[in-house]
Symmetry: none
Subunit: 131 residues, 4 copies
């Protein structure tokens, strides 16, 4: 079953964090059409969050055509989002993991790693690297 996580220090609204995690899972191939999301109540209980907040996230996703709620059955993935091809995913994820290990071996903590990653990505986007 898909599990959500929250980072209360990020400043990102709770409902947006949920939305982003589903989108991310779709992109990465971890969720696929037909999969069932945990119920609003389950998520609310697990994250200690108001059910309305979860409802809002699910409604956002439904609005974007990514999920469909079926009364009495739950919420299901019914859309997709140009997922990363599994072979690329495997390869890139593996090499990124290696890079991460290197960073940790160099003594970097989570905050430093986050700063480095953000700096490099921002950087390369700034110079039109997305081309």
């Amino acid at each position: 079953m898909f599990a959500f996580r929250l980072d209360s220090r990020s400043g990102v609204p709770t409902y947006l964090q949920l939305v982003k995690q589903v989108r991310r899972a779709l992109l990465v191939g971890y969720l696929r059409p037909g999969d069932r999301l945990p119920t609003v109540r389950e998520v609310a209980a697990a994250l200690v969050v108001n059910p309305n907040t979860v409802v809002k996230a699910y409604r956002d996703l439904e609005h974007a055509g990514l999920v469909t709620a079926r009364a009495g059955q739950g919420t299901f993935i019914t859309g997709t989002l140009k997922p990363i091809p599994p072979p690329s995913y495997t390869r890139l994820s593996r090499s990124l993991h290696t890079w991460l290990r290197g960073a940790r071996n160099a003594g970097l903590d989570a905050e430093q790693i986050g700063a480095l990653v953000a700096a490099v990505i921002d950087d390369s986007e700034a110079e039109g690297g997305a081309a």
Copy 2:
């Protein structure tokens, strides 16, 4: 002179984005004690944002002991944040850049790359990878 950037789609409050960029610059060694940040009015004009929003960010940083505001003179870096050692920075940043190029050559767009990075980092943190 230090320059800020905004991502309006991220959902992160403007002032927090500014705060994080300064912290990141400190971690990465791009800002150091004694450096002067752009004035409140300059930032507000450059980002087309209300001066109060910038004031809030600078105040947060001052609260954290990272900068000091001097009326009539500007806002200066006066604290530090366990910066990444430059050699590690150079090496890791270079290899991450290479990885990024590989991801782009595999046809991934910015959103897919973001999802992949987030997935890998979250993952490895979840399993106590920080050890």
Copy 3:
């Protein structure tokens, strides 16, 4: 319910007066963890002050780890500040009250009393009286 007071002639910014009153109430034992502060809107209405000014004060307190804001619920005391032991408080407060009565009986007005108190305290601090 905790009540705030303002002294517009003091020259101390409104929001700082609020902050100091909460800190003082903590030191004196009048507020304790779990207590709820009046809502931003209540304070703003009672003091005829802009809500943002109150928000600023509460935010400062939160930053200092003394209170925690819970959206939809209010702002609660969640920290403490080395309170004065109640017995000492009772004894010292009582004798200071007596002193105050003496000063007033001698014909001193509020400004004179303030000057005297400030002079004596400053004085004794200057000579390292805190020892």
Copy 4:
């Protein structure tokens, strides 16, 4: 020679702190008509403050009729402010000193003492104690 002190953490504007100290010294009998205040330059140098700030304070005092600037000679006290009668002053100051010593012996630090004093004075003013 009269000496000024600054408390940068109080939030009270610098120039107001200077004004208040002169008023206090007049009330307490520490300054009397004919006394000469330190020059603007001396104060500015001693407090590491911009001379304009001192000028503003002196102008405020002149405006209030308490001092007079004489070109080339300095600034002199030329007004008064219902001073505390010296006998009362001596007696009250002495007993307050005793109280202070008691508070410190009870282990209270400066912040706690300040809170206690403020609480007691506020309190008694609130109930019309100034009568």
